[in-house]
């Protein structure tokens, strides 16, 4: 067995243990809640829903980040680089401000999902006008779209009343307390579809690491694969964001860390990233629930605090590599 295969097997065994430990931990104490009482059953259901939500969202963000880093051939690419987070935030803010979010619990995730998806569609259409997708054009158009949508979001926030302002702010900070199993199920199905699409493209992703020109010579239909991978990554990101808001850094640091652990081969990297992304977010969320209990801090704070230094390290290391002749 090669070292990376051993590591992958170890990860496969560790992830369920971590998830179970997180399921047992909560502000009400460590251990399985007493399921003979209604409150105990409610606690268990709540933790289960939270762990499932955290896992699904973390897995989607990490998977999407990994795929985008491969096709954009940019170490700093992450799920939000193409403007999905700004689009989704704007969609959610519009739902909150117009009052639709209060009418039905599905309105807010639906709004976030639709606007996030539309943003990516628009970015892809504008970047791919020449018939092929250049990573730099995609990133630049994504950044411009993201800035424009952020400005629109600020405009909406400026006009919003206090309650709506609070709701938007809390939504943007990320929240893994899903309102119902139905919503989690819908999002899980969407993420599973995109995961299946991405897993089916692992040989193409490996080839794309060498550049789209080389990949074409190797027989990869880049005109089909690139939009497919972009679309699948966007679907996963929009679905995750619509369920849990904008949680940063998961899609950036998990793929990079795993690339060092299991290697750059996407056949192993994609499943490992998916599993570990999910587990990482569940652990961060458990910390967010426990550190200042009963007060709950936004999970994005924990992911950013652990991801921020990593991001800087990555940035500085890249800088040094470029400077060294």
């Amino acid at each position: 067995m090669t070292p990376s295969r051993t590591t992958t097997c170890l990860l496969l065994l560790t992830v369920p243990v971590v998830l179970i430990l997180c399921l047992l931990a909560g502000p009400a104490g460590f251990g399985l809640p007493d399921t003979s009482t209604p409150a105990g059953r409610a606690l268990l259901e709540l933790r289960l829903l939270r762990v499932v939500t955290g896992f699904v969202v973390g897995a989607a963000l990490a998977l999407s980040g990994c795929a985008l880093q491969a096709i954009l051939r940019n170490a700093l690419a992450e799920p939000y680089v193409l403007g999905v987070s700004s689009g989704s935030s704007l969609g959610a803010a519009l739902m909150i401000v117009t009052g639709l979010a209060q009418l039905t619990p599905l309105a807010l995730p639906a709004g976030a999902f639709v606007v996030g998806g539309l943003t990516l569609l628009l970015v892809c259409l504008m970047s791919g006008r020449a018939g092929h997708y250049s990573p730099n054009t995609l990133i630049l158009v994504g950044v411009v779209a993201s800035s424009m949508l952020s400005s629109l979001l600020m405009f909406v926030i400026a006009l919003a009343d206090t309650l709506a302002l609070h709701s938007i702010t809390w939504w943007m900070m990320g929240n893994l307390q899903a309102t119902s199993w139905t919503l989690v199920l819908i999002v899980t199905v969407l993420i599973a579809i995109s995961a299946a699409l991405l897993f089916s493209q692992t040989p193409a992703l490996n080839a794309l690491l060498l550049g789209s020109e080389t990949a074409r010579h190797l027989g990869v239909e880049t005109r089909i694969v690139l939009p497919l991978v972009l679309g699948a990554a966007a679907l996963a990101t929009s679905a995750a964001v619509s369920l849990a808001g904008c949680i940063g850094f998961v899609g950036l640091i998990v793929p990079h860390t795993l690339r060092r652990v299991v290697g750059a081969n996407h056949r192993r990297l994609l499943p490992a990233t998916t599993l570990c992304g999910g587990a990482f977010l569940v652990v961060c969320d458990t910390l967010a629930r426990l550190l200042f209990a009963p007060r709950e801090i936004p999970v994005g704070v924990i992911t950013a605090l652990s991801g921020g230094p990593f991001f800087l390290h990555l940035l500085l290391r890249n800088h040094e590599t470029h400077e060294t002749p």
Partner: protein, 324 residues
């Protein structure tokens, strides 16, 4: 024929074109005069200054809705020349006052445009603003009014400032005695339900022991589920709420749907005893329970009405049943 000859050959055309050339500047001059006139009149209308209040030279700007309410309650509403966008009471007075900022965030230019003599604040988002206004010879009057016990003193302070001491002292005494009698009634109350205060429909934000609403709730005869929490307003975990299992939920936020509907459909919330038994309420006027102002006794009465209504509905149930 030469070019000159051609020009001479049609003198009528030349004179006509000259006329047009002569007329054009005249028309555009008239147009300019009209545009200038209109702009000037528009500008004059914009910078038209309001006449000073008749009885004194005092022109007040309030930077908090409860300060606006206090000023109006002591009969000095006519002295206000600026208010916040959130000020909405008393409606007949505030509708006449121009908006000069948000709560705790005065907008400098509109504020200066109303030529205030005093700016009233209880808290400012940017403390440096006080120095800027002072440098412009506009005194910023700090009126401490964020807690229940500060309301009477705030009214008295404003009474002295606006020369309405008699009315202010009378109102302050009324509020003080009202609070005292509510306190006595609450202490003699036998069954005090444990109430969870909620401030947002999507995130569980509750109030700690020292929050203004908690004080009102306890004067109305309830016990706050967040009584052990030090912070005024905080986001708590749903797990903690399930552990507390309050007798009833009191929603301090505006909602399009009945609040019970919001929680009955959500995992975790629907397992709460209060939600299962339909004991989820809101108050009719959210501002009276969240603003430390002159309507505080109404606020206490509103919460008391909710608790009484709940007690009537669930008279047969024990108000503090065994917690799981």
């Amino acid at each position: 024929m030469t070019a000159a000859g051609q020009a001479d050959a049609c003198p009528s055309r030349r004179s006509a074109s000259n006329e047009t050339r002569n007329q054009k500047p005249e028309t555009s001059q008239w147009r300019r005069v009209i545009v200038c006139g209109l702009s000037l009149s528009l500008l004059t209308a914009c910078i038209r200054q309001d006449p000073l209040p008749a009885d004194s030279g005092m022109r007040l700007v309030s930077t908090a809705p409860h300060l606006t309410e206090c000023v109006c309650a002591i009969g000095a509403g006519h002295l206000l020349v600026g208010r916040t966008a959130t000020c909405d009471h008393p409606p007949e007075v505030v509708s006449e006052i121009p908006v000069t900022g948000d709560f705790a965030v005065p907008w400098l230019e509109p504020l200066l445009a109303v030529r205030p003599t005093h700016v009233l604040e209880t808290v400012l988002s940017d403390p440096a603003l006080r120095d800027r206004l002072t440098a412009l010879n506009i005194p910023v009057v700090h009126v401490p009014c964020t807690r229940l016990d500060q309301i009477p003193d705030a009214l008295r302070q404003l009474g002295v400032l606006c020369d309405r001491s008699t009315r202010a002292n009378q109102l302050a005494d009324e509020i003080q005695s009202g609070i005292e009698s509510a306190r006595q009634a609450a202490s003699s109350c036998q069954a005090r339900p444990r109430v969870l205060l909620l401030f947002a429909p999507d995130v569980p934000i509750t109030a700690g022991r020292n929050a203004f609403v908690t004080t009102l709730l306890e004067l109305a005869g309830g016990v706050s589920a967040g009584h052990d929490l030090e912070t005024n307003y905080l986001r708590v975990s749903l797990e903690w709420i399930i552990e507390q299992d309050p007798d009833l939920l009191l929603c301090i936020f505006a909602t399009a749907r009945p609040p019970l509907e919001i929680y009955a459909g959500q995992t975790g919330w629907r397992s709460l005893r209060a939600v299962r038994s339909g004991r989820v309420y809101t108050v009719t006027d959210l501002n009276t329970v969240s603003r430390p102002g002159p309507r505080v006794l109404d606020g206490i009465a509103q919460i008391k009405a909710v608790l009484d209504q709940d007690a009537e509905r669930f008279a047969k149930q024990s108000p503090t049943p065994d917690r799981p």
